[in-house]
Symmetry: C2
Subunit: 211 residues, 2 copies
């Protein structure tokens, strides 16, 4: 039973995982995969571009996780190759999924770095920008909650949109943190230093120098 997990299988990326799931339900050709992923809204969880998709399909085939089962052509349109998942493919999907569930991945989002540098802005500007961010976040949360509401009304099992409830929870917590921080900055309970960066007013195209 145990497919012996080929020597050094490279970690499947997100697109590959999404593709394997699709092919587990039905054989199809790459373009159809793209459409289906979009229809399911998977493009909110995975960066979806033609280039990467076709490349991933190729790689999955080389790894033996999927196989071409048929090629056909309509008129003079480019040839379409229909792929099917293999037993190894199913195994690889579950393996990778288990791993992704169990282990937090070291990822590098931009915002923490921005926070690390926040002190190089002026205090007032920092507050302003953070406020902007919190507004956008509020909008995002509202949109997500609308979707979640609709799904619930339709009677979709919550298990099927765990990703959405996760996102909502994450965004709510982020929003709270930001609002709390704005508050602290405004009341000076989080103190701002003499900005060493104040000497360089980073206005582009400056010619006059500093007083």
């Amino acid at each position: 039973m145990a497919a012996p997990k080929s020597p050094k299988s490279p970690k499947l990326n997100l697109i590959s995982l999404a593709l394997l799931e699709l092919l587990d339900e039905e054989d199809m050709h790459p373009y159809e995969m793209q459409q289906r992923l979009r229809d399911r809204g998977r493009d909110r969880l995975v960066k979806l571009t033609a280039g990467s998709l076709y490349h991933s399909v190729e790689r999955l085939e080389k790894l033996g996780l999927i196989t071409a089962v048929e090629t056909n052509r309509q008129g003079r349109l480019p040839e379409r190759t229909v792929y099917a998942i293999t037993a190894d493919g199913r195994a690889a999907f579950t393996d990778r999924l288990r791993e992704m569930v169990a282990t937090p991945d070291r990822e590098y989002p931009a915002f923490p770095l921005a926070l690390a540098f926040l002190h190089s802005l002026e205090r007032d500007e920092a507050i302003e920008r953070l406020t902007w961010r919190s507004t956008m976040l509020e909008a995002e949360i509202a949109a997500e909650e609308a979707v979640a509401g609709r799904l619930t009304e339709q009677g979709t099992e919550p298990l099927y949109f765990l990703d959405l409830t996760w996102q909502i929870a994450a965004h709510r917590s982020q929003l709270e943190w930001i609002q709390k921080t704005i508050q602290q900055l405004s009341t000076n309970s989080l103190t701002w230093p003499a900005p060493a960066s104040a000497r360089r007013a980073a206005a582009p195209g400056e010619d006059g120098d500093d007083r």
Copy 2:
């Protein structure tokens, strides 16, 4: 205005931003940048590899955001080129920073996708894996809190480790969500469908939503 913000300046990536900050303090050569970034623990916020670093330096130079000011060599070691930030570089740094603070970036972490697929594991295994994840998260939080505690004792201004407090808050909220979800799964208040072995006959109707 003098510097009309070059036609289509590509978005600076995280390394580039970190490099610009370093060079704003002092001229230095690439290897030193690497060391300093590590010393400051920036490698927690930015994926730091030699390849990307040297490549970024090259690109920054091409963009005119930094310039080589000196090259020297010690013995027969490879030549070191010392770089300095330019006025454009300073401007680009602040611009990008402002943007990163203000706008939440569409990023694609792995966990939400894993959650979207969670139902293809068996219920018990899902619980087990999530429990594992929560344990690792607890460890991470403990480590981060230890660091934060030390910094506070040393009298470092909280403004200078906002990134850490952010991470702690984020991780705490994630931990809570996971624990709550494990709870719901265990008590069956979040119901599991026919297990993985029974392939879904009726596809759950996730509608394509907007936004």
